[in-house]
């Protein structure tokens, strides 16, 4: 009995150690790849485009009256993380296709999930930096910085996953834009529901993201924030699975 207990504890300890090593190894690989993705984005001029856009957004916000600043900031942030995020991830994948690197990436020990997360993390990093610059200017969203960051990060991850799925099918920018236009419409249409039934509309990702962004801190509740974040997490899981299946089908096992 005692021997059995010792053996099972040993077995669990070995399993735990293996799992820990695997997590450390995968995380290290993910961070390395994300580093190269940031470098790739920088060298392709993405950071320059983002810097120019951020400067334009900040100028625009400075000249707006403080009463409308939070709403305009919210929609700028949302368009930045969703539309720009999708455009940039599509451009990234198309550039990789054009340079023939995808086929060589997937015949290495690197996992597809590492590739997908690396793209999502690197683009979310830049979206968060830009959104923080916009959101943290006086009179914008300083009062709700935590819900804003949660919205930006989850929204950016979601649209990057979605963009990855669509871009795996496209061979040209036109094909890609056709795909994201359709996906964008499907995502944006539920916004109208916000004016009909605000609570029910929260089940859609864009509505949950908007609610987290525009609700002033004084009107936020813990429940509504957890609900919004949970909805976005669920949609992220769906979008991630979509990206994985589309990449497997259209790129790896084509």
């Amino acid at each position: 009995m005692i021997l059995c207990s010792i053996l099972s504890i040993d077995f669990l300890a070995i399993k735990f150690r293996r799992m820990k090593n695997s997590i450390i190894k995968n995380t290290a690989q993910l961070l390395k790849l994300a580093h190269f993705d940031v470098l790739f984005q920088y060298k392709q001029g993405f950071y320059l485009v983002y810097a120019i856009l951020t400067a334009v957004y900040l100028l625009l916000l400075f000249y707006l009256p403080e009463t409308v600043r939070p709403e305009v900031a919210a929609y700028l942030i949302l368009s930045d993380t969703s539309v720009l995020g999708m455009v940039f991830v599509g451009a990234l994948v198309l550039l990789e296709k054009q340079q023939n690197v995808l086929q060589s990436l997937f015949i290495t020990p690197m996992k597809l999930s590492t590739y997908i997360f690396s793209k999502a993390i690197s683009l979310t990093l830049i979206a968060t930096l830009v959104s923080s610059a916009i959101g943290f200017i006086p009179g914008a969203m300083l009062d709700r910085c935590l819900s804003m960051l949660a919205s930006v990060i989850l929204c950016s991850l979601f649209f990057t996953f979605l963009g990855l799925g669509v871009s795996s099918r496209a061979n040209t920018l036109n094909e890609y834009f056709g795909g994201i236009l359709l996906a964008g419409l499907v995502m944006v249409v539920p916004l109208a529901l916000f004016f009909i039934h605000p609570v029910l509309s929260m089940i859609f990702p864009i509505n949950a993201a908007v609610t987290l962004l525009i609700t002033p801190a004084t009107q936020q509740t813990l429940v509504s924030n957890i609900a919004g974040i949970s909805v976005l997490i669920c949609w992220n899981i769906v979008a991630y699975r979509y990206a994985m299946s589309q990449f497997n089908k259209n790129i790896i096992h084509k």
Binding site: K32, Q44, Q99, N100, Q103, I252
Partner: protein
């Protein structure tokens, strides 16, 4: 190292199978050449062997394990250099190597050693977009071998290289073989196949009608004759003799003793001739 048995593969949208029950084996430390025209099924075979295409029938084993059952660790042991360079154009040569090296946990070559060996060390900090096609091919090759793979797939490795770099790369490939790497070489280039391969397989319409060493094939399909070009009365003449009994052939002995010889060649077949004879098709 590799054993392929009755491999059958059909693409979803095509009625005719791309690979029709092909069987072959590749021994350890062997350079195995896969020769055939475009569309013959060479790339499909390579995709199955590298685990990209899964839904095949038959058996493809590496070191006794079915390719379908391999996980991502499988790629620690294989390297693939495609016909067209797969490199990030905005990255420098060093950045490209560092990116791909980051995927492997096994022992790797020193970048300086590799880059110097293929003559790219001086250009290590240039973006690949500034490289010529030959430079990209050389970088593509070392990218495929940087993790010291036990099994290496090469597709037209000397394409776009000048003669001296082509020689350098071929010597490098032979050295890898001698140091224990098994190499699967896909090519149209008969000179490369002849110089590098221990055995070749001809692929045509998804089938492999011939598998043998280049030397044996050339002997089997060649004519056992000797062709001499010589000068007689200031004119260039050609004469062919059977190799059988050549040492006692008076006409031959007279000719070589009393004429100025320009060239002497035995008439073994080239791989190109044999491919045409066996398959009825040109390679390129």
């Amino acid at each position: 190292m590799i054993r392929v048995e009755n491999l059958l593969y059909s693409y979803a949208n095509q009625g005719v199978p791309a690979l029709k029950n092909i069987s072959f084996k590749v021994n350890d430390q062997e350079i195995f050449g896969f020769l055939g025209p475009s569309g013959a099924g060479k790339s499909t075979t390579q995709k199955v062997m590298t685990g990209i295409l899964k839904n095949y029938q038959g058996s493809v084993t590496l070191k006794g394990r079915e390719v379908n059952n391999f996980n991502k660790q499988f790629y620690e042991n294989i390297g693939v250099a495609f016909e067209f360079p797969n490199l990030y154009l905005k990255f420098t040569a060093l950045e490209n190597l560092a990116l791909f090296a980051s995927f492997y946990t096994c022992e790797k070559y020193d970048f300086q050693e590799l880059l110097s060996r293929v003559g790219l060390w001086e250009d290590r900090n240039l973006p690949v977009e500034a490289f010529s096609k030959g430079m990209r091919m050389r970088l593509n090759f070392i990218r495929a071998i940087l993790h010291k793979p036990k099994l290496l797939f090469l597709d037209e490795p000397t394409s776009g290289l000048d003669p001296s770099n082509s020689r350098m790369l071929k010597d490098f490939i032979l050295e890898l073989r001698d140091n224990g790497t098994t190499i699967f070489l896909t090519t149209h280039n008969m000179t490369d196949a002849d110089e590098l391969c221990d055995r070749v397989a001809f692929m045509i319409d998804g089938q492999l009608p011939v598998i043998d060493s280049p030397e044996k094939l050339k002997l089997q399909h060649g004519r056992k004759t000797l062709k001499i070009r010589y000068k007689a009365d200031m004119q260039l003449e050609t004469k062919e003799f059977s190799l059988h009994g050549l040492g006692s052939n008076n006409e031959f002995l007279q000719l070589i003793n009393h004429n100025e010889i320009e060239t002497i060649h035995t008439q073994e077949a080239t791989l190109e001739d044999i491919f045409l004879a066996v398959t009825g098709k040109q390679l390129s």
